[in-house]
């Protein structure tokens, strides 16, 4: 599985791990990772530790996730970003929408 999810019920925290290339090929998997949760999480963490690459459709997928979690009221962090991935997120100024580390 290139997209793994973990839902912690105590913290109401959903963690989505993306492995390998984070591009249009992950679209369906990524969507169902948050759409299939029975409960609405308070926070979502996207873990890109094992993501090797990220393209603009991945940025679009992050926007879809943000929209699903309530847009401006959402609380989403993107963690374990490599320097390459961070560069892509920085050019698009996605740090204004997501908590990136």
């Amino acid at each position: 599985m290139a997209v793994e999810t973990d839902f912690s019920r105590d913290e109401k925290k959903l963690t989505i791990k993306v492995k390998g290339r984070f591009d249009f090929g992950r679209h369906q998997e990524f969507r169902s990772a948050y759409e299939r949760q029975p409960e609405r999480p308070d926070t979502v963490v996207v873990d890109l530790k094992e993501a090797t690459y990220l393209d603009s459709s991945a940025l679009g997928m992050l926007l879809l996730l943000r929209d699903h979690e309530g847009g401006d009221d959402s609380c989403i962090s993107v963690i374990n970003t490599s320097s390459d991935v961070r560069k892509i997120l920085a050019i698009s100024n996605f740090d204004k929408l997501f908590d990136i580390s």
């Binding site: 459709s57 679009g60 100024n93 204004k96």
Partner: protein, 563 residues
């Protein structure tokens, strides 16, 4: 056997008894049979009846089976017509010859009806498979042609929209791969009424039709608002709001927008998500980067959108280099990316800025070797304000309904001073006056200058002396943004009066501010060359209008235009 599985079968066998026997076996299995006594007859019959499967004796008079097989395969072309050799040969070499001549299988004499039936059946499966593959291939080819044709038509329509602008201006050089549009790249340029140049380099997420679809409304807003004299901030707000409204959540448009002011020798920049653009000196040194400071267009709701721009000086001969990420993402055979460092190395090595554009292209070619279809590269040079103001828009009405005796007062205060730009509205109103239409460029310049003077110097108390050099320039615009963000006291008032005058008419514009005013005599007495970047507004206004006066201790500027 169902009719659709019945085949037309050609049997070529010189022995009459064998021929009859075979024909009987095959007919009993439900197929239609044609018979030939030798290879030559077989080829002729094949050409005439186009059977779907051939049983061929190897050794026959006149023309043997090997030669007949070759000719039949040639006639069949790409379609698979299975040939089964009938042979009493048993040497390996002979059997190999059968296959080499184009045979697909063989049956040994004496014939078994069961084996023969099974082989015909198996060959028919192959034949159908091949036919399906060919059909699908042709279908794909047709679809592909269709798609290319649609793209060609769409591109032709789009080019009419996109290139109605001024991309062909002599100070612009650009390269866009032919189908960059279908990779979401977009390059637009247009003159404002006062002769500034707006440029947009955009990049939609995604590829193909979805990426191209958003380009049309974006171009419309860009051209429409630029022509009406709106500034970058208003145009950006409108583009963002429109894209936010029409695009799905996961689609957006990275964009770099410029306002190049030849009169003021400066450039205003907004970059949301595009790679760094570069500002280069006349001799090619890197002066500054035009970095992305905003989210791309179409993501934020209108009320959260940030339209703040940066202003930097741009002297004559200095230039800007803009690029899309296709340039940086060009990859070599090992999938390494060209990247920012290589691009900057090309810029550092460049000796002749006129050739920088070619140098970058050459470096890309050497590096990648493959042409990409999502490369956009644009080189813009600052030139003297020759003031070849764009031709005024043509109107077809006679002007009889043109209002010729009226006046209007408009006062802006508080928050209206922070964001609202009154110039396009006033300009639109003035263009109702037939005799003023040819002067729309001048009017736009004059109104813009007088308004920004009243706001920036009159109300905000900014020192135009700051703009003498590049760092002061940046400081000036920093202070401007800072003071605008605070409470703005006072007001700016426009008074327009249009009245008949001789055969034509006369327009009087007065712009008043409630600020401290300035020493009119002293500022007007300063020679232009001492003023550097500053004071251009006053000079410009004096140059453009017949009567320009500063009254009420510098708090009121009055100009008159007669026609």
């Amino acid at each position: 056997m169902p009719a659709d599985q019945a085949l037309r079968v050609l049997i070529a066998e010189d022995g009459a008894a064998d021929r009859l026997l075979l024909a009987q076996i095959v007919r009993r299995q439900g197929h239609e049979v044609f018979t030939a006594e030798n290879g030559e007859q077989a080829v002729a019959l094949f050409a005439e009846k186009r059977p779907q499967l051939v049983l061929l004796d190897a050794l026959m008079p006149v023309m043997d089976g090997f030669e007949a097989a070759r000719q039949i395969k040639a006639l069949a072309g790409q379609a698979l017509v299975p040939i089964i050799f009938l042979t009493s040969l048993s040497e390996d070499d002979d059997l190999v010859r059968c296959l080499e001549a184009g045979g697909d299988d063989f049956v040994a004499k004496p014939y078994s009806a069961v084996i023969l039936g099974a082989k015909i059946h198996a060959m028919d499966r192959l034949r159908r498979l091949q036919a399906t593959v060919l059909e699908q291939r042709d279908q794909i080819t047709r679809h592909h042609h269709h798609l290319l044709n649609e793209q060609r038509v769409a591109k032709a329509v789009f080019d009419k929209v996109a290139h109605s602008g001024c991309l062909r201006s002599p100070n612009i050089r650009y390269l866009q791969s032919p189908y960059a549009l279908f990779n979401g790249d977009l390059l637009l340029a247009a003159f404002t009424p006062s002769g500034d140049m707006h440029v947009l380099l955009g990049d939609f997420t995604g590829h193909g039709l979805p990426a191209a679809v958003g380009a049309m409304p974006l171009a419309e807003v860009f051209y429409g608002m630029t022509a009406k004299g709106y500034g970058l901030a208003e145009t950006l707000r409108e583009m963002n709001a429109k894209l936010k409204r029409i695009l799905p959540v996961d689609m957006f448009c990275c964009a770099l927008l410029l306002n190049l002011s030849f009169q003021r020798a400066c450039v205003e920049v907004w970059n949301g998500g595009m790679p760094d653009g570069y500002r280069l000196s006349a001799s090619g040194e890197l002066l500054a980067t035009l970095a992305s400071r905003h989210l791309p267009l179409g993501i934020l709701a209108p009320e959260r959108f940030d339209d703040s721009t940066e202003v930097m000086p741009l002297g004559v001969g200095e230039r800007l280099l803009l690029l899309s990420d296709g340039v940086l993402d060009t990859s070599d055979e090992q999938e390494r990316l060209f990247g920012v460092e290589r691009l900057q190395a090309v810029m550092a090595e460049n000796l002749d800025p006129e050739r920088l554009f070619d140098d970058v292209l050459q470096a890309l070619k050497r590096f990648g070797g493959r042409a990409r279809d999502d490369i956009s590269l644009c080189d813009i040079r600052m030139v003297e304000p020759g003031f070849e103001a764009p031709a005024a828009m043509l109107y077809s009405d006679s002007g009889r309904s043109s209002p010729l005796d009226w006046s209007l007062g408009l006062t802006l205060r508080g928050d209206s001073l922070k964001r609202f730009n009154p110039v396009p509205y006033l300009l639109q109103l003035l263009q109702e006056v037939h005799g003023l239409r040819p002067s729309s460029g001048v009017l736009h310049s004059v109104l813009s200058e007088l308004y920004s003077n009243a706001l920036e110097h009159g109300l905000l108390g900014l020192d135009s002396g700051l703009k003498r050099d590049a760092s002061g320039f940046a400081e000036y615009y920093r202070q401007r943004a800072e003071r605008l963000a605070q409470q703005v006291d006072g007001d700016v008032r426009f008074d327009l009066r249009v009245e008949p005058h001789g055969q034509g008419g006369r327009l009087t514009i007065e712009v008043r501010d409630s600020g401290a005013g300035f020493d009119v005599e002293q500022v007007l007495a300063r020679p232009a060359h001492e003023q550097g970047f500053s004071g251009r507004g006053v000079n410009l206004v004096r140059r453009l209008s017949q009567h320009a006066q500063w009254l009420e201790g510098g708090r009121c500027a009055r100009i008159q235009i007669c026609w």
